[in-house]
Symmetry: C2
C-alpha cells in the first residue's frame, strides 16, 4: 500500500495482521481526491494525508523514535492530530493523546507515567509545559505545533516546528508488518482516585472497533446512519478515546472530514453550515451549548446526524434537537471500551412514534454492536431479568476492551472479574433489549465529561469541624449533565454555623493542586437534618435521591 | 452467550478470540423472534435456531466427534445447513460442505481427502453414497437428512435420522473459547487439473469476512445495500464458499432468512413473492433462468437487491434485470478468497446515468472491501497503470484468504507468491479504480459455475488421429456464462474427415469417469485452416478470440 511499486514480503505469505496502516488502503484507492478540512485554514486530500503521514513517520524515525517508544500529542482537533493517529502507530510506536483539560500537575503525571519520549505541543499549551518542564522525566524532543502563527517566544528547547519538520522529511515510507497485538494508543481517564488511570489499545483492537462501528452504523433498520456520502466532524476531543474512534472510521470509509480546532459554538456551527457536515458526535453539554448559541437559527441542522454519549441525555434536550431536524441517537461506552459498545438504533415502527416517545428511545443506550457481549448482572454475576425494572451492573466482553490500567495491577484486577470487564454502570434492560443506565456502582458524578467521586467529596467535607455528616449525590443538570449536590448535617448547637461559601472554599485547595477535577466548584449544598441509612447502616443514596432531587 | 446463567471463565480474562459463536450474540439478544424459513415446510425463530445448534452440537459430541474432526454435509440449501454452519465449527470441528454437483468419483475423492468422520446426507444424495460406500475411508457415522419424507430404503448403515438425532440431544450447551485460527470450514474447488482442490478457512477469517461484508454492504454511497429490514435468500449453494458467506452475515445482522432447498425457478420466484425477499446473490446463469421463467411476470421484483458473481455478467442480462426494477450489482471473489473481495457500488452521480451506462458499471467487479489490498500487476509484480486499458494479473491480500490448498504444497506455492495470493484473473483497472476482468492467466473456461480447462480439452482432441492442431477458447454464452469453442485444424487429405459429433463423443469417456466437468459436452466446434501463433510460437488466443468470437 505504501509504495505502489514495491511489494513487501512477509515471513508467512498468507498472514494478515490487523494493523492500522490497512485502514488507509481503501480510501487511497477509491477516494484519493476526497477532502480533509482544518477550520478555515487548510484543505487537502487523502493523498496529501498519506504523504504527510509518510513524512511524519520519517521525521519521527529520524529523531530516533523506535518501536515501543511513546509519542505524546497536545493539540486541538486538527488534521495534524489525524496524521498522528496513523503515523505514530504505523511505525510501531505508541500514541499518547494527552488530556489537555487536566491540571498541569496531572498532565505531568501522565507524561511521566506513560514514559513519553517525544511531545508534540500546540502553542496554546506551551505555558503548561513551561510550568512543569524541569520535572519531565524522559521527553527527548519537543515539537511545536505553531498552527500558522508568528514565532513563539518560549523557554522550551523545541527540536523543530511541525510544518518544517515534515517539509524536511521524505514523503516516501514503507510501513512494516508486525504483531497486531502491538500497543498503538494510550490515554488517561480522569478517575475517581485523584490520579488519572492509563488505558491502552492495540492495532488489532482499533481495527476491529473500526470494523464494528462501520457495520453497526451502516446496517441499522432501513437506512445506514453512516455512508460514503457523509461529511464527518468530531465534537468530542481527539485526545479523549480517539474522538470515540470515529476519525479511524471516517478515514477507512473515505468520507470528507472536517477538523474544527478548539471548540467554539460559532466556529462549529459555521463549519457545519459551510462544509455541509452531516455526521458528528458530542456530549450533551456541547449540544446544549450549540443549541443555545445565538448563531443557531442561521444554520440548517436538518441533515445533521449526531451520536450523543459521555453522559445521559435529557429528554428535553433530545426533543429540542429533534425539533431542529437533528437525527440524534445515543451511544454507550467508556474510555476502557475503546469506546463504543452500543447505539440507540430505532426500528421502523419506532420512527412512526410521536416525538416524545421517540425521544425516550433515542436517550437510551441502544443496541449492542456486533461481537459485543453485554450483560446486566447481579453481584453473583447472574443476569437480571430483561424487564426494564430489574437493575444490575453492566459487564461486557468485546474484541476492543483495554486489557487493564497501565502499570496498575490493583485497579486492573478490579476492572476484569469473572472474564468480564466491569463498567461500574448500573442499568436496566427492557424487553426490546435497550439498556438504560440508572446508577453507578462507584458513586461517581459525571460533570461536563469529567468524573467526580462523591466519596472523595464526602471525605473532604467531613473534615470540616462543623460537619456532623455528609452525603454527595449527582444532581441532573441541563448544561453539565450532572453536578454534585452535597447534603450536609451540621453539628448541633454551633455558635457560627458555616455557610455554603465557606464549604465551597474547602474545595479550592484540592482543585488548585490538581488533585480533583475543577468541576467540583459546581457543587451545590443543602443543609439537612439527617442522612438516610440502609438496613446495614450504609448511606442510602437511592433514598436520598428520591427525597432531594 | 450460550447459557445466560453461567459465565465461562477464560485463561486471560481480556482475550477475545474471533470465533463463529460470537456471530450469534447480537441477533439472539435483539432479534430472538426473527424468522428463518425453509421452503413451505418450516418456519422457526432465531431462538429455535440457537436451541437446535445446541442440540446438534451435543448430538455430534455424543457421537464421538472431537475438536479437529471433520463433519461433512450433503444437502440442498436449508435451515439444517445453517445449523451446521454454526454447530460444527463451534465445537472445534471442521465443516466440509460437499459439492454435490461433482461426480460420484470426485465426491469420494473429496470425502477421503478431507478425512471426513461424520457425513450428513440428504435422501436425494443417498444414491451417490451407495455407489461409493465400500470405498469411503474414515466415515464413522452416516446421518440421514430425510427432509420430512417417508422412510427411506437404503443399504447405508445410518446412525440416525437428523430430526430424531436432534430431538434426543440436550438443548443446552456451552461453547468453549479456543484459538481463533482453528480451521472452521473446508470445501473443494472444481479446478483445472482433474482433481478437486481443497481450500479452508479459520474462525478468525470467517468472522472478519462477515464484518467486512457488513461494513461494505452497509456503507456505500447514500444508502446501505443491506440492513436490518432486509429478507435474505441465497441462490448460490451453501456448499459453494458458504453461499458466499452471506448466511453468516445475515445471521449476525439478525434479518429474516429464507432457505429454498433445491433451486427451481418457480419455487424461487414464489418464495421471493410470498416471503418478501429483498436480498439475494446468484450467478448469471441462475438469474437468466429466473428471468426466462414463465412465472416471472407474476412476481414484483422491484425491491430485490442481487449480488451477481461467479462469472461475468452480460450487459444485456443486467439491463433486462434493471428493467424489472432489480438492484443488480457485481461482486468479485473466488473460492480461495472466502469469497468476497470487491463489490460494484455506484456513486451518487452514477445513479443518475442512463440505464446503459449504469449497466456497464454494475457489470464491473467494483470497489474493494475494507482491509482488502488488490493490485493488478505485471509478471515482475509491478502495478500496471490505472487507465482502463493496461492489463495485469489480479493479486490480493486480505484477512480472509485461504492459506493454501489442503495437503497440496505444490499448488499452494503457486497460489501464494511474493506475499500475495495470485487469482489467475487478468484485469484492467480504470481511473475510478473499478476492476474489469478481461482474461485468465490459466486459460480456463467458466461454464455454469464450473471451471473447464482449455488446455485439458486441447489435450484430449489432439489425440484424435485426424486432428492436426487444436485450440480451445471461451465463447461468451447468455445462459452458461461461457462454453468451450474448439478451433480444429484437420490433417490434409483425409478420406473421411471426422464430424463435430465424433469429436464430441471423445469427451464422454472423460465425463463418465468424472475426470472432467460434465459441462464440456457444451463444446462447440469450428474447423479452421490454421491456428494463430505468437512470436515465440505459442498459440495466440487473444488473436483467435478477436477472429472467431
Amino acid at each position: 500500500m505504501m509504495s505502489d511499486h514495491r511489494i513487501p514480503r512477509t515471513e508467512s505469505a498468507y498472514t494478515y495482521p490487523l494493523l492500522i496502516k490497512h485502514l488507509l488502503q481503501s480510501p487511497l484507492v477509491h477516494h484519493p481526491q476526497q477532502e480533509i478540512v482544518y477550520r478555515d485554514q487548510l484543505r487537502y486530500t487523502y493523498r496529501d494525508l498519506h504523504e504527510r503521514v509518510c513524512r511524519l513517520a520519517n521525521a519521527l524515525l529520524s529523531s530516533g523514535v523506535k518501536a515501543g517508544d511513546t509519542v505524546a500529542v497536545m493539540d486541538w482537533d486538527s488534521h495534524r492530530y489525524l496524521e498522528c493517529f496513523f503515523a505514530v502507530p504505523m511505525i510501531g510506536a505508541v500514541l499518547h493523546t494527552v488530556n489537555v483539560k487536566l491540571s498541569a500537575e496531572q498532565i505531568l503525571y501522565t507524561i511521566d507515567h506513560a514514559e513519553d519520549n517525544v511531545l508534540l505541543v500546540h502553542r496554546d499549551f506551551v505555558p503548561i509545559i513551561e510550568q512543569i518542564k524541569g520535572r519531565i522525566d524522559m521527553v527527548d524532543h519537543y515539537i511545536l505545533l505553531n498552527d500558522g502563527a508568528a514565532a513563539l517566544d518560549s523557554s522550551i528547547p523545541f527540536t523543530a516546528e511541525y510544518e518544517s519538520w515534515l517539509a524536511d522529511a521524505s514523503p516516501y515510507a514503507e510501513f512494516p508488518d508486525f504483531d497486531e497485538n502491538t500497543r498503538a494508543t494510550t490515554f488517561y481517564t480522569t478517575g475517581t482516585t485523584g490520579l488519572p488511570k492509563g488505558v491502552y489499545f492495540s492495532h488489532r483492537q482499533l481495527v476491529l472497533h473500526t470494523m464494528g462501528v462501520l457495520a453497526a452504523l451502516g446496517t441499522p433498520q432501513h437506512q445506514g446512519r453512516l455512508h460514503q456520502g457523509d461529511v464527518y466532524m468530531p465534537i468530542t476531543p481527539m485526545f479523549h478515546v480517539h474522538a470515540w474512534g470515529l476519525p479511524y472510521v471516517a478515514t477507512a470509509l473515505g468520507v470528507k472530514q472536517v477538523y474544527p480546532g478548539r471548540y467554539a459554538p460559532e466556529v462549529l456551527l459555521d463549519l457545519i453550515d459551510r462544509e455541509q457536515v452531516t455526521f458528528s458526535h458530542c456530549v450533551p453539554t456541547i449540544l446544549h451549548m450549540l443549541l443555545k448559541s445565538s448563531h443557531v437559527d442561521q444554520v440548517d441542522l436538518s441533515h445533521w446526524k449526531v451520536i450523543i454519549g459521555g453522559s445521559a441525555m435529557s429528554r428535553s434536550l433530545c426533543l429540542e434537537a429533534m425539533q431542529r431536524g437533528i437525527d440524534l441517537f445515543t451511544g454507550y461506552g467508556m474510555s476502557e471500551t475503546c469506546p463504543i459498545l452500543s447505539l440507540a438504533h430505532l426500528d421502523a415502527e419506532m420512527l412512526e412514534l410521536e416525538d416524545d416517545a421517540q425521544a425516550e428511545i433515542r436517550c437510551k443506550t441502544g443496541r449492542t454492536m456486533p461481537l459485543v457481549d453485554v450483560r446486566v448482572v447481579d453481584e453473583q454475576m447472574q443476569e437480571v431479568p430483561r424487564d426494564g425494572v430489574s437493575t444490575g451492573e453492566i459487564v461486557v466482553r468485546a474484541p476492543w476492551l483495554t486489557q487493564g490500567y497501565l502499570k496498575d495491577t490493583r485497579n486492573s484486577e478490579q476492572l476484569w472479574q469473572g472474564g468480564y470487564l466491569h463498567t461500574g454502570d448500573v442499568a436496566t434492560r427492557d424487553t426490546k433489549n435497550y439498556l438504560k443506565i440508572t446508577d453507578r456502582t462507584k458513586d461517581v458524578i459525571k460533570s461536563g465529561g469529567e468524573w467526580i467521586s462523591s466519596l472523595e467529596l464526602e471525605d473532604i467535607f467531613s473534615h470540616h469541624p462543623a460537619v456532623a455528616e455528609v452525603a454527595v449525590i449527582a444532581q441532573p443538570d441541563e448544561k453539565w449533565g450532572e453536578r454534585p449536590l452535597a447534603l450536609v448535617v451540621l453539628k448541633p448547637d454551633l455558635e457560627t454555623p458555616p455557610g455554603k461559601k465557606e464549604l465551597l472554599a474547602l474545595l479550592h485547595e484540592y482543585t488548585d493542586t490538581g488533585v480533583i477535577s475543577k468541576q467540583v466548584v459546581l457543587t451545590r449544598f443543602k443543609f439537612v437534618d439527617s442522612i438516610d441509612k440502609t438496613s446495614v447502616g450504609k448511606t442510602d443514596k437511592r433514598s436520598l435521591r428520591e427525597k432531594h432531587l
